[in-house]
């Protein structure tokens, strides 16, 4: 240690103090330990801001007004500290997500449900079950928002709502007419059923509360919980939004693309994605009468659409036996998977697992969105029963499969979000909590006008000029912006070799010509300038002398 010198105080020593090799090594170790700790803290903070921060930092230094600059600095500091604290609060998370790992020559997709159930504890194994309902299938299914209740709708008129964890039946209805889709509303007290002609709303006791007569021959329904909107689309291709808290019919939009094949919602921004027979997927908000985005995803009908929780990726299943993954920030294809026969149903779990139902098979793919997976994670076969609907249960490692012969609940370790937020959605809520949450949800109900591609648009600056604003709503502006993004350049005559086309589309990144070289040089020069003169001076002096050079103190 440096501080344990005793005896008379040496005011100024002429010689450097002798330090033993041992102490110097210790000191070195301490220093490196402190350095490592500092590094760890820095990386922790960086991760925290990346994970919990809300977008890019404001360039504070360029603000000219002193008062504003100081305020912004304080705000930025506050946001950063908030993110760090949120990251630190991860320590309090009680649960860990599930996993399934193969050992040795095993493959996870070889494990059957029976194998998994054997290895799991009894309570968890019980969650995988099968309901044989051979008479009224195929079944469409829906879990409610906190994953406690399950709704089954048999095509031939059988509806059952039950608490699947305690397997207690809430209600069972025989409607004696075709059922095309079922959907829970904001909590497990109400559900909507699209029947032969109209959509009906029932309560948990099975009592018919409403008949929505302007929703005719509905094939697909989606419920937007924060806006209290029931979005439906029927055979005629009309997309209709109805407010379920006030009963107001918000809007109806003619898609003009014929009978829809599939529909889903983006949970991040409440945009409805509709898959059409032409191979198009269109994105809709209730504020604009034309689609916000049109994506040509497949050569034939789009049989199923699914969007992940974060709203980054969309999976579509086409008639040509392809399941494609799309990045819906750039509207570009990421990659695609093929299925032996066209898939019927898709769903993406909270932790990003992709479930595909094709024929009588159900497959779950892990890490299949951002990267291309080589093999499925889990497979399941229901012989002779064509899968109608697959859905992950929120906050559970469960995949519900509705098929011709009934319903099956499959265990998919690692699919569900392990740690719920009780102030948002609570699977263990009491009656009182449910009622209070309902009131709170109603108080914070969002207006349909707030639906837009960017959910954080509120509170940001409207940068359009005064002239541009006239008559044009910000939704229109957003649509325009989205269109710009997916603009594909026209074919250029005489320049159409495969390589050129590729280069053109990939932004000419690997063409190195004179102009490019010049630009690179300029870039380099600027970089050197930014690093300061010291660097260039060192270069000038050469490596042998440069180490003695110290930049002058300014």
């Amino acid at each position: 240690m440096a501080s344990d010198d005793e005896g008379p105080l040496v005011v100024a020593s002429t010689r450097p103090k002798k330090v033993s090799a041992k102490t110097s090594l210790q000191k070195h170790r301490q220093d490196t330990a402190a350095e490592a700790e500092e590094k760890a803290i820095q990386s922790f903070r960086k991760n925290a801001v990346e994970q919990y921060g809300r977008g890019a930092q404001v360039p504070v230094k360029s603000i000219k007004t002193k008062r504003l600059r100081e305020n912004m600095k304080r705000m930025e500091h506050k946001f950063k500290e908030g993110a760090v604290q949120a990251k630190a609060a991860e320590l309090l998370l009680e649960e860990n997500p599930g996993y399934l790992e193969a050992e040795g020559l095993e493959k996870t997709y070889h494990f059957s449900q029976k194998d998994l159930q054997k290895e799991l504890d009894v309570g968890t194994a019980k969650k995988g079950f099968e309901l044989k309902l051979p008479n009224f299938g195929p079944y469409c299914i829906d879990y409610n928002r906190n994953g406690t209740d399950l709704l089954l709708g048999g095509r031939k008129g059988h509806v059952a709502a039950f608490d699947w964890r305690s397997s207690s039946l809430h209600t069972e209805l025989q409607l004696n007419e075709t059922i095309r889709d079922v959907k829970w509303l904001h909590n497990s007290q109400f559900f909507a059923v699209s029947q032969k002609k109209y959509v009906y709303i029932y309560d948990l006791k099975g009592i018919e509360i409403h008949c929505l007569k302007n929703h005719i021959e509905v094939t697909n329904m989606e419920f937007l919980p924060y806006h209290f909107l029931l979005a439906t689309i029927g055979n005629a291709g009309w997309l209709k939004y109805q407010d379920t808290s006030t009963g107001q019919h918000v809007c109806e939009i003619n898609t003009k693309l014929g009978s829809p094949m599939s529909m889903t919602q983006n949970q991040r921004n409440a945009i409805v994605h509709v898959g059409h027979a032409k191979g198009l997927v269109t994105l809709w908000s209730p504020n604009v009468t034309t689609p916000l985005v049109k994506m040509l995803c497949h050569k034939g009908p789009v049989r199923a659409v699914a969007v992940d929780r974060e709203g980054y990726y969309m999976a579509t299943a086409g008639q040509e036996s392809l399941v494609s993954i799309w990045d819906i920030r750039t509207y570009k294809k990421v990659h695609s998977y093929s299925t032996p026969i066209p898939a019927n149903s898709l769903h993406i779990s909270d932790r990003g697992m992709l479930a595909i139902g094709w024929g009588s098979h159900t497959q779950v793919w892990k890490d299949a969105l951002r990267t291309k997976a080589n093999s499925p994670y889990i497979q399941h076969h229901t012989p002779a029963n064509v899968v109608e609907d697959v859905r992950f249960c929120p906050f559970e490692d469960i995949l519900g499969v509705g098929h011709v012969g009934g319903f099956e609940s499959l265990i998919v370790p690692g699919a569900g979000e392990a740690n719920f937020d009780a102030l948002e959605l609570n699977p263990f809520e009491s009656k009182k909590q449910r009622q209070e949450a309902e009131v709170r949800l109603l108080l914070n109900k969002l207006k349909p006008e707030m639906i837009s591609l960017d959910p954080d648009v509120i509170g940001t600056l409207d940068r359009r000029k005064a002239g541009e604003k006239d008559g044009e709503t910000w939704q229109d502006a957003e649509k325009k912006k989205a269109e710009e993004k997916i603009e594909i350049r026209n074919r250029q005559r005489g320049k159409n070799s495969a390589l050129r086309r590729h280069l053109r589309k990939s932004g000419k990144k690997n063409i190195i010509d004179l102009k490019r070289l010049k630009l690179e040089e300029m870039k380099e020069k600027r970089k050197r300038l930014a690093q300061g003169l010291a660097e260039s001076k060192r270069e000038e002096l050469g490596p042998a002398v440069a180490r003695f050079y110290r930049p002058p103190v300014r």
Binding site: E95, L100, E103, E417, D421, F428, L443, L446, M450, I458
Partner: protein, 448 residues
Amino acid sequence: MKIKAISRSTSTYVPQGTTSAPVPRNLNPALHPFEKAREYTRALNATKLDRLFAQPFLGQLGNGHIDGVYTFAVDPKVLNRVASGSGDGVVKLWEMTDRTEVYSVKAHDGVVKDMCYSGDGKLLTCASDQKVKLWDHPSKLEGRSTKDQVKPVMTYLGANSFNSITHHRYDQVFATASSSIGIWDLSRSKPTTTLSWGSDSINVVRFNPTETSILASAGTDRSLVFYDLRMSTPVTKLITTMSTNAICWNPIEPFNLAIGNEDHNAYIFDMRKLERALNVLKDHVAAVMDVCYSPTGQELVTGSYDRTLRIYSVREHGHSRDIYHTKRMQRIFSVAFTPDSRYVLSGSDDGNIRLWRAKASERSHVRSTRERMKLEYDEALKKRYQHMPEIRRIARHRHLPKSIKKMSETKKVQLGSIKRKDDNRRKNGEKLSARVPERQKMVVKNVQ
């Protein structure tokens, strides 16, 4: 095979035998969609609730006065007592907790023009009957009925009718304003010094509470004069376009003072830099008769001849945060903040003393932690989204009496036409002097 699936035990999340279930949190942003939109909705609701609960008027003190109330005296050291002086020479002392009268005394023969507390809690009153009277500490009057004659401790006689009085923060010295400024010692019957600088009549005089030897006065010759008692001379004089009715020093920032002017505005000045105002507080449609800083120095209440009182946040833009009015309230001649800065008093021509909340939607009951946290959260939300058009519209909306609305519209048109005319003249090439900033417009001249 290594396997684990989520299995939550019910006993952890729904413990038996207790009603308080644990509330696990997960701050992952993906679990909280639409956070901006939901926050905005909450801010909007909070703003609406704020307006819903806005009930500024609390009531009047006792039965008020018979004549108009022209002055208040608030002792900064005592929370529950306020004195008021009326046009018929009556001075009343009020108990604030139950809004009752402690005593009432016919103090003067003329109008009680001004009152102030001395440092040791004695009351000084001055009136148009050329007298200044000193009244004893109110605690010594406890238990006396109004029938007992309350007698002044001391009476000082002057040559002219007094307009204003102010007491030194520590010393036994007070200053009066009549045709000149008299500096008095409490123990002497004649003024020790007389100061004047040009004016024939002085409206108001005020000691600086922090820089205690500085004195500010305003006269009918549109002057605002600063004196330093250490030199017994005037220091500097500012001539404004119209005369000043009231002066109030900022209790926190010693250099700053607010003046209420005949030109419908209140101005904040730094006494070291009188060539331009720090802020111009607009919105009144008649002369500002009285101004008073809150003890925090952040807010200013003004009472006006247009029968309204307005509250300004001094640091922010020059428009009022709130406007208070009633159907029966007449022209306001005196306003005061209570020393806890939570209430505002107004005295008007109709003889009533009205008590208002400084924050219209605030309530004074004891709050539970939950309620307090909710209010704090709402406050932060309102601040965060204050610039959103709908929130701003709701937060700013006030119902105005028809006459005030009409007058403010007329005023807007008048000012607009003056500006337009000036613009047109400049546009057509007329050589005019440079445009004067709004904060310098009322400054006519600075004299050293």
